[in-house]
Amino acid sequence: MTDRKVTEMMPDAYKWGFHDEARYLFRTERGLSRKVVEEIAGIKEEPQWMRDMRLRALEVFESKAMPSWGPDLSAINLNDMYYYARASERPERDWSEVPDYIRQTFERLGIPEAERKFLAGVGAQYDSETVYHNMREELAKQGVIFADTDTAVREHPDLVQRYFGTVVPPADNKFAALNSAVWSGGSFIYVPEGVQVEIPLQAYFRINAENIGQFERTLIIAEPGSFVHYIEGCTAPIYTTNSLHAAVVEVIVKKGARVRYSTVQNWSTNVYNLVTKRSVAYEDAVVEWVDGNLGSKVTMKYPAIYLMEPGAHGEVLSLSFAGRGQHQDAGAKAVHAAPYTTSVITSKSVSKDGGRASYRGLVRAYRGAKGVRSSVRCDALLLDGDSRSDTYPTMEIDERDVTVSHEASVSKVSEEQLFYLQSRGIDEQEATKMIVNGFVEPIVKELPMEYAVELNRLIELQLEGAIG
C-alpha cells in the first residue's frame, strides 16, 4: 500500500456520499416528542414501567440544557434526527457507498468479508449465529444470561426492572435522559453467584443489526463472587450515517465479584459519541474499565466507579487518539463512598493533525471514607504543532485519612528519541511509530490479543497518514 493511498484513507479525504432516502418502513418521525417515545415503547410492546420511565426521561431531557463545560456540541441538531428505526427495515446500503478509508482500514486490519459488511451497515446480519448459539448454551448451563436488552426486558422483566436505571438514573445528565427515553438494543448480562465466565463476552457473538445502535443500553449484573469480561465495540471502524451515539452502560458488581469492561471505540468521524458509563462496586468487588477512543468527531466519555463498600477496587485505563477534526474528551471518575476503597486511573492520549485530546476526571472521597487510596496518572503526547492537549482533573477530598495522588505530563516525540532511533537506521516514520506504540503499550497490553493487534495496526495506520 503506497503512502498516497493511506492518505486517502484519512477521514477528510472522503466526501460523504450517502443519500438518506425514505426507505425505512417503520421509522418514527423526525425529532423527539412524547408521541415518538410512546411509539418506540409501543413497537417494542414494552411493559408499563418501562414506558413510564421513558416518558419521565423525556421530560428530564427537555428540561436540561446542553452541557456547556466541555467540547463544542452546537452542531448537533436534536430536532433533525430520527430516534428509532426498526433494524430489519434499515436500508440496504451498497458496498460501493462505503467510504474508501473505511474499506481500506478493514482490509488492513484483516476483517472478514461478512463482518466488514455488517460493520459498514451494508449487510443486515453477520453470520455468527452458530457460534453464538453454542456459546449461549454453554453459558445457559451456568445460569448466565447474555441477551440484547430488548429481549431481556421481555424474557427477564423482574431482573431488568430491579436494576435498570439504578446506576445511571434518567435525571443524571441530558444525554443519559435522552438514552433513557429512546434506548434500543445494547447488552444485558447477568452472572449468577460464584460463576466465572471464562471467555470474554463480545458483542461480536450476538451480532445483529440492533447491536450497534444509536442509543444502546447495556446493563451488567455480577452476583457475589462472579467474574465476567465484556468487550464492546471493536477496533474496526464502524460506519454510520447517524451523527449521534448516546449510550448508557450500567454495571453492578456485588461482593467479591469482578467485572472488566473493555471498549474500543472507532466510530466514523461524523459521529458525536456521548456516553454515560458507570459502575457500582460493593464489598471487595473489582471493576475495571479499559476504554479506547479512536474514532468519532467528538467523544465525551468518563467511565465512573462508585466504590460503595469497604475493600472495593476500581481501575480505569483510558487511551485516546485524536486526529484531524477530532476532539476526544475522555477520562474517568472514582467516587470513594466507603472506607478502605482503592482506585487507579491511567490515561494516555495522543494528538495529531490538529486533533484535541482532553482528560477530564474526578476523584472524590466522602467524609468517613478512611484509608482510601487513589492514584491518577495522565500522560499526553503531542505529535505536531496544530494539536492540543488538556488535562482537567478534579479532586474533592472530604476525608483526612486518605492517600490521593494525581500526576500528569504532556510531552512531544522528542528530537533526542528520534535521533537515537534514526542513528540506529530506523526511518523517522518507523521511529515515531515505535515511540507511540511504546507510549500506549501499558493500555494496549490489557486488551485481549486480537484487539491489541488490531489496535496497534490502527495506530500505525493513523500515524502513516500523519506522516505520509
Binding site: G385, T394, M395, R400, D401, V402, T403, S405, V410, S411
Partner: protein, 438 residues
C-alpha cells in the same frame, strides 16, 4: 429617584475620600468610573467553576463600612533600622504610620512609598502603572470596588539597572478588623535589569464582627529584571479577604512569588503569572495553614505566551479542624510558546478530622513543542506509622505530629527565604507558621 440619591451619596463619599488625600481630578475620575463599573459588573452566580465551592455570602457587604471616617493617628510601632530590611512601610487602617528607605537605595532612584504620596509626587509614574497593565478595574466586581475605594497602598519602583540585595518590608494592618472594609494595593515595577525583594504582611486582630479586604497586587517585571515578592496574609478570623495578584513578565525576567496564607474566614485569591516574553521565568510557592471553619480558595494561572518560558508552582497546605481548601490551578501553553517548561505541584496534609481539600490542576496545551509540562497533586494525612515510630522513641503524639508537619512545610519555607544570608526572615515566619499549626 431612590437610586439617584443612593449614587449621589456614594459619589459624595468618594469625593470626600479623594479630597482627604488631595487627589488630582483624574484620580477622582478614575475612582468614580471604577465605582460605576463595580455597580455594573454582575457578582459571581456560584455556578462558575472558580466559585462553585465558595460560600458566596462572603461577598456580602452587610455590616461592613465601605467609607470609614478619618482615622485617628496611632503611634507607629517602634522599629529600629536593624530589623534586616533596607526599607519599611507601616500602614494601619489605610494610614501610613512610618516609612523609611536606606539612603543607598534612595540614591539609586528607587521609590518606596505609599500610593497617595506617589500620586502627588510622581503623578506620571502613578498614571503609567496604576491599574493599567497588570490588573485593571474591570477584572471582577471586587477589583472595581477596590479601584474606587483604595486607601494607603504600597508603591515600589526600581529604575533600570538598580540592584538591591537587602529586602524591603511593608506591614499593612488594621487596628480592628470588624465592621470595616480595607483595600490594600501593592504596585511593584522593576525596570529593565533591576532587582528587588519585598516582603509584605497583612494582619489584623481577631474580631467578632465581619471585616472585608479586597486587595490587589500588581507586579511588572521588565526585561532582565528580578522581583521577589513574599505576601503573608494573616487577617483576623472574621475577615473575608479577596486578592488579585498578577505579575507580567518581560524577556529573560525572573519572578519569585511566595504566598503565605493563614488568616481570614474566607480567603479567595487569584494569582496569575503572565509569561509574555521569551525567557521569562516564574516560580510560585504557596504555604497555607487553615483551621477552624476557614475556607481558602486559590485560582492560579501560569500563562505561557512566549517561547522558552518556564514556570514552577508549589502549593502546600496543612488543614486542621474543618478547614477547606480549593485550588484551581491552570497552566496554559499557548501556540508559539515553544520549548516551554511548566510544572505545578500541590501537596496537602490533612490534620483535622473534618478538613477537606479540592485540588484541581488543569493543563491546556496548544503548543506541541513543549519541553515539559507536568503537574502533580497529593492528599494525605499524618502517617500513623511515622507517629508510632517517633512515639516509640519517646516523643509525645503532639510532638511527633509537629515534627511531621515541620518536615512537610520545610521544603516550601526554604523557598520563601527571600535572600541568601537573610534566613532570619524565613525563621521568624517559620516559627509563626508552626505555632499556628500546633
Amino acid at each position: 429617584m431612590m437610586l439617584d440619591s443612593v449614587s449621589l451619596r456614594k459619589r459624595q463619599a468618594i469625593e470626600e475620600l479623594s479630597a482627604r488625600y488631595d487627589e488630582p481630578i483624574w484620580l477622582l475620575q478614575h475612582r468614580l468610573k471604577s465605582w460605576r463599573l463595580y455597580e455594573d459588573i454582575l457578582p459571581p452566580s456560584g455556578k462558575e467553576e472558580e466559585w462553585r465551592r465558595t460560600d458566596l455570602s462572603a461577598l456580602s457587604l452587610e455590616g461592613v463600612r465601605l467609607f470609614p471616617g478619618p482615622v485617628t493617628h496611632v503611634p507607629a510601632p517602634r522599629r529600629n533600622g536593624r530589623d534586616g530590611y533596607a526599607g519599611a512601610i507601616v500602614q494601619r487602617d489605610g494610614v501610613t504610620l512610618s516609612r523609611r528607605l536606606a539612603s543607598d537605595l534612595e540614591r539609586q532612584g528607587i521609590v518606596f512609598s505609599d500610593l497617595h504620596s506617589v500620586a502627588r509626587e510622581y503623578p506620571d509614574l502613578f498614571r503609567t502603572y496604576f491599574m493599567t497593565e497588570a490588573v485593571q478595574p474591570i477584572a471582577w466586581k471586587f477589583v472595581a470596588l477596590h479601584a474606587a475605594l483604595w486607601r494607603g497602598g504600597v508603591f515600589l519602583h526600581v529604575p533600570a539597572g538598580a540592584q538591591t540585595t537587602v529586602p524591603l518590608h511593608a506591614g499593612v494592618g488594621l487596628s480592628r478588623s470588624g465592621g470595616i472594609a480595607v483595600f490594600p494595593h501593592t504596585l511593584i515595577v522593576a525596570e529593565e535589569g533591576s532587582s528587588v525583594t519585598l516582603v509584605e504582611e497583612h494582619a489584623s486582630p481577631d474580631d467578632d464582627r465581619p471585616g472585608l479586604s479586597s486587595g490587589v497586587v500588581e507586579i511588572l517585571v521588565r526585561d532582565g529584571a528580578t522581583v521577589r515578592y513574599i505576601g503573608v496574609q494573616d487577617w483576623g478570623k472574621n475577615v473575608n479577604s479577596f486578592a488579585t495578584i498578577r505579575a507580567v513578565l518581560g524577556a529573560e525576567s525572573q519572578l519569585e512569588l511566595g504566598l503565605v496564607g493563614s488568616g481570614s474566614r474566607v480567603a479567595k485569591d487569584t494569582v496569575e503569572a503572565i509569561l509574555g516574553a521569551p525567557g521569562a521565568n516564574a516560580k510560585i510557592v504557596g504555604l497555607f495553614l487553615a483551621g477552624g471553619e476557614q475556607h481558602m480558595s486559590y485560582a492560579t494561572l501560569q500563562d505561557h505566551r512566549a517561547a522558552n518560558t518556564t514556570s514552577d508552582l508549589l502549593f502546600k497546605s496543612v488543614l486542621n479542624d474543618s478547614a477547606h481548601l480549593v485550588w484551581n490551578g491552570l497552566t496554559r501553553i499557548r501556540k508559539g510558546a515553544a520549548e516551554s517548561d511548566a510544572n505545578q505541584s500541590n501537596r496537602n496534609l490533612l490534620l483535622g478530622e473534618n478538613a477537606r481539600v479540592a485540588p484541581i490542576p488543569v493543563l491546556e496545551i496548544e503548543a506541541h513543542d513543549v519541553t515539559r509540562c507536568s503537574h502533580g497533586a497529593t492528599v494525605s494525612s499524618v502517617d500513623e506509622e511515622q507517629v508510632y515510630y517517633m512515639m516509640s522513641r519517646g516523643l509525645t503524639r503532639q510532638d511527633a505530629t509537629q515534627a511531621i508537619v515541620d518536615g512537610f512545610l520545610r521544603q516550601g519555607l526554604e523557598c520563601l527565604t527571600p535572600v541568601r544570608g537573610h534566613d532570619g526572615i524565613g525563621r521568624a515566619l517559620e516559627r509563626r507558621l508552626l505555632a499556628k499549626v500546633a
